[in-house]
Each structure stands twice: as structure tokens, then as C-alpha cells.
């Protein structure tokens, strides 16, 4: 291997870095460090000028490692890696040093120390770069089929989207009927329509689609594999069915909380909003004169901190409906805050108020009280705005309760190795930048299993998940960032510690087939399954397994560089 020749490019980022850090001084310092063959400052390394300077200098100075000290690798690493690749340098021979977010922006009052810190960070980056190796990305074929779990509106939207693009879709629904929670609703806001029209037309399309294979009632029993190559087994009405899929979309929805509050379940005229809808739908509601609705029942409390978002609109919708059925009825909505985001919803709220529905704000420190022995007779509430206690006559109390995670989320999470976040909902890869993907490649998420979502959002997320899932399906090949684990079978002792800590079952103990080591039991990494977390490398007692791009020697060199060792 050729001796390292490191090129260092230090970015002013306009004044973002250059205004604080003495960039020329850092450049001079970099030049004094071992293996540095070239160093320069750039106004903007990410500009066209900066990028071509990297490319030109790789050639001119015969550089075989590149270090850029600028902003964060989380946004700019691909750009600089590509620049290296364009100049014929393996993109993994690039190392990023963050002297903006981690230095100039947080030490604006102390230029001298910021400069010293930038020098040290650059020194550490160079120390790591010296040990970088060229890497090849692993490619694997994608089986052109998808599995969508959940036949609600989100799942159906996703399935239809992919099927219409021509991909085979396995849609797995645990109930005997498609439609999900929508089937239970009476009307849908803000259009105030019967959802069955909507559901039926979608269900019909799904059921009649030649590319959709329906598994119903069915539950996923096992799933193994990796992006492009999942092996799935479902229990379909007691029968085991197996198939392959290249991608998986999780759209399993959520359930409505049945509260243990306000004497729900004890008094006959206390309902949840969903109970109310069911009765309205079935025409079994009966007479009513005084309706009180309470919002945030079981939500935004210490045990369940989140806001379910939909319940406010549900309450407004049903309050309006009550007024519509019986214009003489008195309808009160007791709320903590009202979520009526979006153009139509705020307008809808105003209309309902005009129709005579009264909104009263209560505080969690002073909860409404249910009065009555056999039935609710009145509700006593402290009106925060009027600063007085009211007693509202009541013959129908309706509780708006939040959506809560399905009971089987945990099981599915373990099976698919996708995380569950606060409150038991599934957790996407990045709250802002990757909203419908899991960190686990090839698995996507949409609808209320992620977070309480209304129909429109569920449909949109279903489409979004499908469009992300279509990328690998369409490309037919997936590439894995070459930060996966590798084993040195010569020094591996086959203790299996790495396999025990691997969250992705990517490591197996196998008999080696390498010449000279035939029959030796050693760890073997399935690169397609490896997600590059490096847990194995940290657990291995003798460094026999390493994470590419984060090897022991690379990390140790950084630690030593920081300690003043070379």
C-alpha cells in the first residue's frame, strides 16, 4: 500500500468559520502534521470552486486521503465523498472534520481557543485519515414484491400505490374485513360524510387488484432477512403461508383508549366518542337533551404525555352532529386546549360555535366531576375563563380519548427489529428528515401506528411510504454504506460474543472455508443484514471483528492524537 498522502481542505464557510477560527493558521498547522501532503483554505469547500479544488489537488498532489474540515458530515459527507470518487479516489478515503457546528458556532466569543480547538479537531481527523481504507459498497438484488401490514386506509393506500406501479403486494390484515378503524366511524370531518362510501370504493379497488395478494384474516408470524430479501411467514386463518418481499410497510394503526375515568363503564350514559359514533351509526342513540363532552380524557397526563390530535376534531364533529340531530339540545365541550390546525378545521370550529355548541376550558388541576347515581345527571366544571364553577345538566356524557398503540406493536417491533418510541408507537428513522422510514433499511411506516393520524394524513403517509419503498423496488439493487463489520478469521476464536450483541442477527458462527483455516469455527458477517452500528467491534475482546470506517486503530489514533501522541 502506498504511503498516506493526505490532503486537507479547510473551509471558511464565509464568515461562519473564518470569522471566528483563524483558518490560515489551521492550514499552516495541518501542513506540519504527519502524512499531510497538501493543505489549503477554501471560502466554501462545498462550492463548485471548492469541489474542483479537491478534485484537482487529488490529481496534482497525488493525494490518497482527503480531509475536509468544515460543517457536519450528517449533511455534507456525500458531496465530498462524491468529489473524491470523481477524482478517482475511493470515497471511503475521505474523512470529515466538523469545525463549524462543533467549534466556530459554539465558541464565538473566544477566537483563540476556537482556533486551538479547530487545530486539534483537524489533527484528530488527519490521524484517523491516515488509517482509512478503500471500501467497496455491498450490492444485493431486491425481490420485486412488497408486504404491507395493515389493511386500514394507510395500508390500503400504500398497497394500491405500489400495485399501481406494477409491483406485487402482499397485504396482511388481521381482521376479516379491510378498512380498519374507518369502519367504525359514523361521519368523517370536516366533510361530515359517511365514511363507508370512501372505504368501500378503496376496498373494492384493493380486492380487485391483480397485483395485490390479500392475506386476511392473517398475522405476520416471522420475518427475517434484509432489504431486498425478506422471508415472511404469515398465519392466514390457521394456515401458514410463506412468501418473499423486498420491502415492508408497517401500517398497523392504533386503538382507542377505553378510559377508567369519569365512571366510564359504570354509568350507562357515559360513552367514548367512538361508542357514540357506533350508536349513531347503528341508530341506537335514543333521546338526549343535554350533552357534555370532555376532551383529553387519558391524554396529556403524566402516564400518557402526548396529544392525540384527532380527538378535538372528533369532538367538534360529533358536537355539531348532536346539534344537527337535536337543535334544541345543549351541547358543551369541556376542553383543555383545542387543536384545530389547518384552514378548514378552524373554520369548522367557528361554525360549530355559531351553531350553539358551548366550549368551556378546564384545567388538569381541577377536573370536571360527574354527578349522579345510576346515570350522569350533571357535570360540575370549573370554568377557568369565567373563574367560576358551573354545574351543567347532562344526560349524555361523551369522552374524547386518545389513540393508543396496538398491543402487538412490541411483538412486531422485535420481529422486524424496528424501534418503538415514547408511548409505544413505532419510531421512524428521523423525526424530520426521514418521516416514513425506519432506520432498518427496507422497512417503512405510515398511519396511526406511528402517531395518531387522521384519514388524510394516513393516506398521505401511505403514499409517502409507498413512494420510498418503490425506490429499491424500482432500482432492483441496493447498496449498503461500507461501514459494515468484517472479521479477521485468523484471530477470531469463535466465542460468539459478537453474534450475541448484534441487534440484526447479522453474525453467524460458521466453519471457515478460507485456505489454511478450513473447519475453524469463526464469526461471519452477513453484510446485507449488517447496519454498521459497531456493537460487535466493541464487544470483541481481541479486535477480530472490526467496523469499517470506525476501526479500533482509527478511533485509537484519534484518541492518541488528542492526547498529543503521534
Amino acid at each position: 500500500m502506498a504511503a498516506p498522502r493526505i490532503g486537507v481542505f479547510i473551509c471558511h464557510c464565509g464568515t461562519n468559520i473564518g470569522g471566528i477560527v483563524d483558518v490560515p493558521q489551521v492550514v499552516e498547522y495541518a501542513k506540519s502534521l504527519p502524512y499531510v501532503a497538501y493543505a489549503e483554505a477554501n471560502m466554501y469547500t462545498c462550492s463548485e470552486e471548492g469541489i474542483s479544488s479537491i478534485k484537482n489537488n487529488i490529481k496534482e498532489h497525488n493525494l490518497n486521503r482527503v480531509v475536509v474540515a468544515s460543517c457536519t458530515p450528517r449533511t455534507h459527507q456525500p458531496l465530498f465523498r462524491n468529489a473524491c470518487a470523481d477524482a478517482g479516489l475511493n470515497p471511503y478515503l475521505f474523512e470529515f472534520v466538523n469545525i463549524r457546528e462543533h467549534c466556530s458556532w459554539i465558541h464565538m466569543q473566544n477566537r483563540r481557543e476556537a482556533t486551538e480547538k479547530a487545530k486539534e479537531l483537524v489533527k484528530m481527523g488527519i490521524a484517523k485519515a491516515r488509517w482509512l481504507d478503500a471500501q467497496e459498497e455491498f450490492e444485493s438484488e431486491v425481490y420485486p414484491a412488497a408486504m404491507v401490514i395493515g389493511g386500514g386506509v394507510a395500508g390500503m393506500s400504500a398497497a394500491l400505490n405500489l400495485a399501481n406501479q406494477g409491483f406485487e403486494v402482499h397485504l396482511v390484515e388481521k381482521e376479516p374485513k379491510l378498512g380498519g378503524r374507518l369502519l367504525k366511524l359514523n361521519r368523517i370531518f370536516p366533510i361530515n360524510k359517511d365514511p363507508s362510501e370512501l372505504v368501500e370504493s378503496i376496498v373494492k379497488t384493493v380486492e380487485g387488484h391483480s397485483k395485490i395478494r390479500l392475506h386476511m384474516p392473517a398475522v405476520v408470524k416471522a420475518a427475517s432477512g434484509y432489504i431486498g430479501n425478506f422471508d415472511i411467514s404469515v398465519d392466514e386463518g390457521g394456515k401458514e403461508v410463506s412468501f418473499k418481499a423486498g420491502v415492508i410497510i408497517v401500517a398497523t394503526g392504533a386503538q382507542v383508549l377505553k378510559p377508567e375515568l369519569y365512571r366510564y363503564g359504570e354509568l350507562a350514559n357515559v360513552l367514548t366518542q367512538l361508542d357514540l359514533e357506533q350508536r349513531l351509526k347503528d341508530g341506537e342513540l335514543g333521546e338526549f337533551q343535554n350533552v357534555v363532552m370532555i376532551n383529553c380524557v387519558g391524554a396529556r397526563i403524566p402516564e400518557r404525555l402526548y396529544c392525540s390530535r384527532l380527538c378535538c376534531m372528533t369532538a367538534i364533529k360529533n358536537a355539531a352532529l348532536m346539534k344537527e340531530i337535536n337543535p334544541e339540545a345543549k351541547v358543551y365541550v369541556l376542553h383543555r386546549d383545542l387543536m384545530t390546525y389547518g384552514v378548514e378545521f378552524e373554520e369548522y370550529y367557528r361554525e360549530v360555535k355559531e351553531a350553539g355548541v358551548r366550549f368551556i376550558r378546564y384545567t388538569p388541576s381541577n377536573l370536571p366531576q360527574v354527578i349522579g347515581a345510576e346515570r350522569v345527571e350533571s357535570v360540575r366544571v370549573y370554568d377557568e375563563l369565567m373563574d367560576m364553577e358551573l354545574e351543567l345538566p347532562c344526560d349524555l356524557l361523551v369522552l374524547a380519548t386518545p389513540l393508543i398503540p396496538n398491543d402487538d406493536n412490541e411483538e412486531l417491533s422485535r420481529m422486524l427489529k424496528v424501534p418503538i418510541g415514547d408511548g409505544g408507537f413505532f419510531l421512524e428513522a428521523h423525526v424530520k428528515l426521514r418521516p416514513v422510514e425506519f432506520a432498518m433499511d427496507g422497512i417503512y411506516v405510515g398511519g396511526s401506528c406511528r402517531w395518531p393520524a387522521d384519514i388524510r394524513e394516513s393516506v398521505a403517509q401511505g403514499y409517502a411510504a409507498a413512494s420510498r419503498a418503490a425506490i429499491p423496488l424500482r432500482q432492483g439493487l441496493v447498496k449498503v454504506e461500507a461501514i459494515t463489520a468484517t472479521v479477521d478469521p485468523k484471530i477470531c476464536k469463535g466465542c460468539g460474543t459478537c453474534a450475541l450483541v448484534c441487534p440484526f442477527d447479522a453474525i453467524e458462527l460458521k466453519e471457515s472455508e478460507i485456505r489454511g483455516l478450513e473447519g475453524k469455527i469463526v464469526s461471519e458477517v452477513n453484510t446485507a443484514l449488517c447496519k454498521g452500528c459497531g456493537l460487535c467491534a466493541a464487544a470483541c475482546p481481541n479486535g477480530a471483528i472490526q467496523q469499517r470506517g470506525f476501526t479500533d486503530i482509527q478511533l485509537l489514533s484519534m484518541v492518541n492524537a488528542l492526547s498529543g501522541k503521534r
Partner: protein, 321 residues
């Protein structure tokens, strides 16, 4: 009753004869009456060399690694503690249970040679034999016999041993010993150390570790140090230089303590091997104590038990926030 050397010899001979084993690893008398040395047999003929007495300190289980590729089964003599390192070796797939024949010997404590000589105020040449005699050792001297209380002359690990009888064996010679009467709080010495101030601790360990000559005897004798190439022998990355100074020694000993965390079974071999008398068990015991307190884990008990640092509970202690 404790098994005698003769019983060991007879049964090993039989094992060779009936084809149960092709090799045997045991003890024989060493350079003097106060030493035994590992003994490797290929046939029953030499079985009369074997001994079993309170001087058999060596944990022989690591030698099993050298017999991976031999024909037939390897017989080995294990005490309670040694059997626990066998469990660890099995757990990490370092040996094949089907290729090992374990001759278990319940053990009521091993003599600390230096302590014995000091208590008796004699030189080793005067000793003829040491035998187990309940709560004492019977020491035959050239000029007569002396009984010495075990508690005064036992090895440190034997003073806190909770597993005198092997946990895994194919045949057990002698009666099982369920517990040892002198064993109380395993961790009283550790707790004393924990109570010191940071400065006192640093001084203490600086003094201890500066004496280390990095002969690696503690590592090489350790039955659970089984890496074919230790990270400390690697040239790249070089975790420690060969320079013998306290920073390098610190890295060596702390990393070693961590590497055997959840695997160390306190056979005491590291400390016995150390020519500089560094209290190495103290580091391992500290980790052992924490693993017990934090994760209710004890090493070397059950082959199926997952090592504590390769698993977790969502509800584990979280001090970090």
C-alpha cells in the same frame, strides 16, 4: 470423604483402559513437597504419577484448548473453581463437551505456600507432605506432624469460595462438599477499598501497578483469556507500548479486568502467578461484585446463561440521564 491420590490414579487408569479417554490432564509432585506441577498422560501406565492434595492450586482447564485436535476424549481433573472456568469455556465454544471427560474433585481449600511457611516458620525443605484434615491441614514435617488451621493458611480465593464441588463433571471422586464453614462475606475486602477516597485509591493502585513487570503471567495463566492473539500483543493498533510505566500497566490491568468481566470465576490463578504479588484478584472481585449487584450475574454456573455485557434489560439501572 476426600478423594485420595490413589483413588484418582485408579479411576484414571480405568478410564484409559475402557477407552473413555485418550489423554489425561492432572497433577503430579513437583520440584519439592510443597509443589505440584501439571501432568499430561497419554496412557494409564503412568497414572501412578498423579496426585491430589491441598497443593493442587493450578487450574488446568485452559490446557484443554491444546487438545482440541487430538483423537479421543481428554480427561481432566477439576476442582469446584476449575469446573466453573470449564463452564465458561463451554459457553464460549472454546471446547467441545463431547470431547472432554471431566473428573471432578470436591475441594476443601488449597494451601497458600507462603502463608504456610510463615505460620510454621520453616523452610520448604522440611515439609514432607500436606494433607486435608477437615478444618485444618495436616503437615508432615521431617521432624513430626503439625496441624494448621485452614483459615490461617488458605489461598485468598479459597477463603471466599462458594463452589467447592465441581458444577460440571462426568465422574465425581470423593464426597461433594456443599459449603465451606469459613466462607462469609465474599466482598468485605472490596468494600474496604471502595470506602477509600479517590486519592487513597489512586495512591494504592499506583503503587501496586508500578510494580508490574508485564510478564503477562496473569493473562497467560487465566483460564478465560483464550484469545489466539491478545490485543496487547498487536502491533497495530498498539493499545500499550512495551515501555513498562504505570500508564501502560494501568491500561493493561484495567482492560484485562474488563475483558474477563462476567467470565472470571475467581480461581485466583492470576494472583498466584504474579511474581510481584500484585493483588490482582481485587480488580476482578470488584467487577464480579458489581455484576452481581447490578445484573444479578454470577459467572461459570450455567452454560446457557448469557454473559451480562452482551445483553440488557430495558429496566436496568440508569444512572446517566
Amino acid at each position: 470423604m476426600k478423594a485420595t491420590s490413589e483413588e484418582v490414579q485408579t479411576s484414571v487408569k480405568k478410564l484409559f483402559e475402557d477407552g473413555s479417554i485418550g489423554h489425561f490432564i492432572g497433577y503430579e509432585t513437583g520440584s519439592d513437597s510443597l509443589h505440584v506441577t501439571p501432568c499430561f498422560l497419554k496412557s494409564g501406565q503412568a497414572a501412578s504419577r498423579l496426585v491430589w492434595n491441598p497443593l493442587c492450586a493450578n487450574n488446568l482447564s485452559k490446557y484443554l484448548l491444546d487438545f482440541k485436535n487430538v483423537e479421543g476424549k481428554v480427561g481432566i481433573m477439576v476442582k469446584g473453581c476449575d469446573s466453573r472456568s470449564v463452564v465458561e469455556l463451554l459457553k464460549e465454544n472454546q471446547i467441545d463437551r463431547d470431547k472432554v471427560f471431566i473428573v471432578g474433585v470436591p475441594c476443601s481449600g488449597i494451601v497458600d505456600r507462603e502463608k504456610l511457611l510463615e505460620v510454621l516458620g520453616i523452610s520448604p525443605a522440611e515439609v514432607v507432605a500436606v494433607e486435608d484434615d477437615g478444618d485444618a491441614f495436616l503437615v508432615t514435617l521431617k521432624g513430626g506432624t503439625q496441624r494448621v488451621d485452614k483459615e490461617k493458611v488458605l489461598r485468598g480465593e479459597c477463603l471466599v469460595c462458594k463452589y467447592p464441588t465441581p458444577l460440571v463433571y462426568d465422574v465425581l471422586l470423593g464426597e461433594a462438599v456443599s459449603s465451606l464453614p469459613w466462607v462469609g462475606d465474599d466482598y468485605s475486602l472490596i468494600k474496604e477499598q471502595e470506602a477509600l477516597s479517590s486519592e487513597e485509591k489512586a495512591l494504592h493502585w499506583n503503587r501496586e501497578l508500578s510494580q508490574c513487570i508485564r510478564c503477562y503471567a496473569c493473562r497467560n495463566i487465566c483460564p478465560v483469556c483464550t484469545c489466539p492473539e491478545c490485543i496487547f500483543d498487536k502491533k497495530a493498533p498498539r493499545w500499550i507500548t512495551k515501555a513498562n510505566d504505570v500508564s501502560e500497566n494501568l491500561v493493561y490491568h484495567l482492560v484485562r479486568a474488563f475483558h474477563v468481566a462476567g467470565r472470571c470465576i475467581d480461581c485466583g490463578e492470576c494472583e498466584r502467578a504474579c511474581p510481584m504479588n500484585i493483588p490482582l484478584r481485587s480488580l476482578n472481585k470488584k467487577v464480579e461484585k458489581d455484576l452481581l449487584e447490578l445484573f444479578d450475574y454470577t459467572a461459570g454456573i450455567d452454560v446457557e446463561q448469557q454473559p451480562p455485557l452482551t445483553t440488557y434489560q430495558v429496566g436496568d439501572l440508569d444512572e446517566f440521564l
